[in-house]
Amino acid sequence: MLLSRFWYALLVAIAAIAAMFFLLIQASFNRQYDKSLQDQLSRDRDELGLILRVDARMQLDSISGFAAHGDVRQKLRAASGRNAGTEINEELREPLTQTLTRLNAQLEAGAGELVFAVDRAGTIVAAIGVDPIPENSSLGAFPLVERALAGFVRDDVWVWNEKVYRMAARPVIDGGQYVGAIVHGKEVNNAFAERISRAIGATIAFYEGDRILASHMPTEGGFRAEEIGAPLAELVASEAFQAGDPSEPTDIAGARGRAIFVPLQGSAAYSRVGYAVGRPRTVLTSVGDLIDQVTLDDLSSLSGLSTAMLIVLPILGFLLAMLWVFIERDRPLGKFTAAALELGEGKAERLKPAGFSRRYRKIGEAINQALDRMAETGGGAGAARKPADLDEILGSTSGESQAPSFFGFAEGESAPPEIPSIPAAPAAPALGGIPKTPGVPAEFAKTSPDAPQPDLAAVGAATGKPVLPEPPPAVPKGPPPVAAPAPPAAAPNPAAAPLPPAPPAKKPAWAKGTLVGVGMDGPAAGAGPLQASAASSALDSLPPLGAGLDDDDDDDGATMVANVPQELLDAAGGPEPDAEQEVDRHFREVFEQFVATKKQCGEPTQGLTFEKFGQTLRKNRDQIISKHGAKSVKFTVYVKEGKAALKATPVKA
């Protein structure tokens, strides 16, 4: 899984880098947006100041008609000429008030809510928006009026009875003399705030101290009066703000927006009257926020190559990841799964860990070990089988060791019994041909493949020799296996008792016709699959195991070894010039048969190696040759008491 892990690590690293870049982009975006917002608010402040300046100029121009009106001039001249200390005559006040009202109405949108006509001393002669007018009330000390009475056209901002007004004043001149002044005021209200808000496109609020006088917010991205007024209490108390300096951009509405607070030009600055401009603030906190900022223009700005890379690279990365997963996980897992299924279906006896990847190799070896333990402890009667012990099976190879009984020699005998000559065995049948049973008289031989199997029990009774069906011809790799001939029935040998029939040992389901002692369909140790398949196909043409054998044979527990064809015996007559190779080849064949037989009998085969097996066989062979004067020794494998056993047959010249 090295490639997959490396790829996953690479993808995680890429994701981490992408996340880092997002955070960097987020911080950079937020910083640049804040700066951009600060610049925008500064522009809003300048623009609003310009709007107020232009509005004041327009107001001054609009009241010029008041100051120039003949009725106004006349009345103010009369009021200025009265004796000091006398009150304003109602005959002057009433008509002048009506004139002011009419002139004010003509201004329409520019009409004022607070209008005064004052005499040369500043005494209020007539007024709009003040009722009743206090006796002898004056405006002469207000800088706006004082400068207007001195001949200047001037604007100002007043706080008048808890309201704020944008004021404008012009002198009234009659006959070359100053006779008074017109003082005109327009209230700072929501309508005025709305007009400015629409012009700028931001939230506008006018305040006095810490209270909002008037405000207006745009349809989108606006703030309520209480939100934009929240910082006022703290701002108003600051020294810089009291000195008349605009504030720095200040967070409002929980940092959803920022506003700048600016004192108004004019006398009302003493009352901490000013205006605020607020705009929403965009802060990126997640990928979703970043996506919300993307517009169609941004998408159209992506080049075709960039778009292709954004699509192709992730797909390639995904495919590579899938490839690593397939190579390092799916394929090994598939092989292991197939082998496990074969094991479960009985098509295999063990797993082959060598064919798996490292992880599954360990699992395979563990499963095989479990199978071995199960074979040792479970199934059939009898004591748990111990691992194969060659010495126990083959006998000690030391000089003091006696000839083991399982080699067919009885203990205590001075001379081995005469080994009957191996009867001539019929030629090995060709694959698909009519299987010929060795030792079967002609009258009992099959005449056609479809003919029934000869009664081997009858043949055995007739010939006096137990007969087993001809073993299937395995794919020859060297001389075919040699089976020891059946012990002569006439020579009673207590040691070599009639071979009991093979117990109904556990046979794999694939055994159609198992002939003990023959390297066959079951894959023997070291056997290749081709051999097994060839043997299996040969076995398919043979009658099933036991066909022709009576059950009585099995009752004796004797497992008979198939007769060896004569030509094989002739071929094994004696050491050839390459005798060592022949011997080694024979030992290897016996070893494979022995291992296969042990597996068939459910015996463990751990620790059973050819080297040790062959060494033991060689020592026994030497002993037998020296003891019996034989030219060579042939070993065969058979089943004795449910266990694999070996039998040695000396071969004389």
Binding site: I124, G151, F152, S271
Partner: protein
């Protein structure tokens, strides 16, 4: 030297006089500038503008201090008129109550940080603000709503009479009991003249020569 003409009477007599005010005496500029400056201030373009002049009637205070042989000390009553304190230079007797009546059409919020109990309170048109005067000294009085409203209160312990000052600088004390007093003139936060006079019983007192003012240097 001054020659004084006395009126021979045992009853209180008026005292008249005049102040010599320099013609180039200009009103002080507001202490704050930039925020209070207007957007526009232009000459009308028709008639020449008038130069700014000090309002002597509003900004000069002439009083007599000394031992009072008869009558009562004058009350400390003043006004807010025309949008400012009238007079803006006030002289009051220690221990009396300062009373300022608002005769304007708008509200005011007078205050004085140096006088205990003189915090900004709204005085509506027609109402009066009263504050006890506990100690002598000179105190600044301002308006929280209007920066141009600046007054100075001089509290003395032996106030005898307070004069009415005209726009031309002439002043007049009404019904001053006979005795020797000190005539003082105040201009905003400064005492600009002081002269001893003796009022004889039954004889109207008139200062023949104007009282010269020792005005402070402009900042």
């Amino acid at each position: 030297m001054l020659s004084l003409v006395f009126a021979s009477t045992a009853a209180a007599v008026p005292i008249t006089g005049s102040l010599r005010v320099p013609s180039n005496l200009a009103p002080e500029t507001p202490p704050r500038d930039a925020p209070t400056s207007p957007n526009w201030e232009r000459p009308n373009g028709v008639v020449d503008t008038r130069p700014p002049r000090i309002d002597v009637r509003r900004e000069m205070a002439v009083v007599l201090v000394g031992d009072l042989t008869a009558g009562e000390r004058p009350a400390s009553n003043f006004q807010l008129h025309g949008g400012a304190l009238q007079p803006s230079t006030m002289v009051a007797q220690q221990g009396t109550t300062l009373r300022i009546e608002n005769t304007d059409a708008c509200s005011h919020e007078l205050q004085s940080e140096a006088i205990e109990g003189f915090a900004p309170l709204t005085t509506a048109p027609g109402n009066a603000r009263t504050v006890p005067i506990p100690e002598t000294g000179s105190f600044e009085v301002t308006d929280r709503l209007y920066g141009h409203v600046q007054g100075h209160l001089h509290v003395v312990s032996n106030l005898v009479a307070r004069a009415t000052v005209g726009a031309d600088g002439r002043f007049r004390f009404a019904d001053v009991p006979p005795g020797t007093y000190t005539l003082k003139a105040f201009y905003r936060a400064h005492e600009v003249a002081s002269r001893e006079i003796t009022v004889e019983d039954g004889r109207e007192f008139a200062l023949e020569e104007p009282v010269a003012l020792s005005l402070p240097e402009a900042d």
